[in-house]
Symmetry: C2
Subunit: 127 residues, 2 copies
Amino acid sequence: MIVMETTADIAPEQACPISPVVDLVFSRWTTPILWTLNEYGRHRFVELERRITTISPKVLTQRLRQLERDGLVSRTYHAEVPPRVEYAITDLGRSLAPLFASIADWSVNLGKVDRARQDYDAARPTG
Amino acid sequence: MIVMETTADIAPEQACPISPVVDLVFSRWTTPILWTLNEYGRHRFVELERRITTISPKVLTQRLRQLERDGLVSRTYHAEVPPRVEYAITDLGRSLAPLFASIADWSVNLGKVDRARQDYDAARPTG
DNA sequence: GACAGTAGGTACCTAGAGGAAAGCGGCATG
DNA sequence: CATGCCGCTTTCCTCTAGGTACCTACTGTC
């Protein structure tokens, strides 16, 4: 039996169609990795490490594996000595570019956010 | 003294200009809240709770406070019995709409992600 | 023989986010 | 008199993401 509600049926998890993409692309650490590879091209492991200074090698590996599995990043192993591995963004990853662009566009509003925070805090001085 | 590097100076935290916006808008639970308010208009606390079924009241309160402080959501208290509180998206929050739209657009690629995962897993059967 | 450099793997540990459950205030309704 | 509604708040507890530190194989170089 199907029950119709005023607000339409509610999806099981959360009625928010963009969440899957957000989980994929904007979970912790994935954004700077994808953005870097998209903006500056292929990188070796240590190059990424040096660019995203605060990431630990363990987590960098985890995220790169995940992004590779998701088809957003490609990994190329060169059997040299010392070994060399290059990470690059795939076509699928590159298709995120307009998305990154619209986020970058919105960042002009960060000043308004700052002001809103100041107003909010000023209105509640002693919590 | 300013040192020029080949890849330009590296920002202190992470050389990724979109991270601030991502932290603001796409941290855990904020996305479905903002998306819901943007898509379906003002909601009461319990309405949000019922729509985003898996969120706990504690976290919902936390996120709403944070979004209110950031100027993305407005809170209106009606001193009735029982009390009524309405949350709505602000103009600043509404300005995120194109961003949400570009994410929704990209979600057509989720199928490719699924296929990439299958390929990846198929190529590594026993870990 | 020691050390460096690369791309990680692994074991251990901690901090903090988030879940569960209960309470509160004020009134209305049974 | 109890119960329920609403919008939280508080306390307690768990769980896991992530950090630290150390390890590997392989070779060249001092």
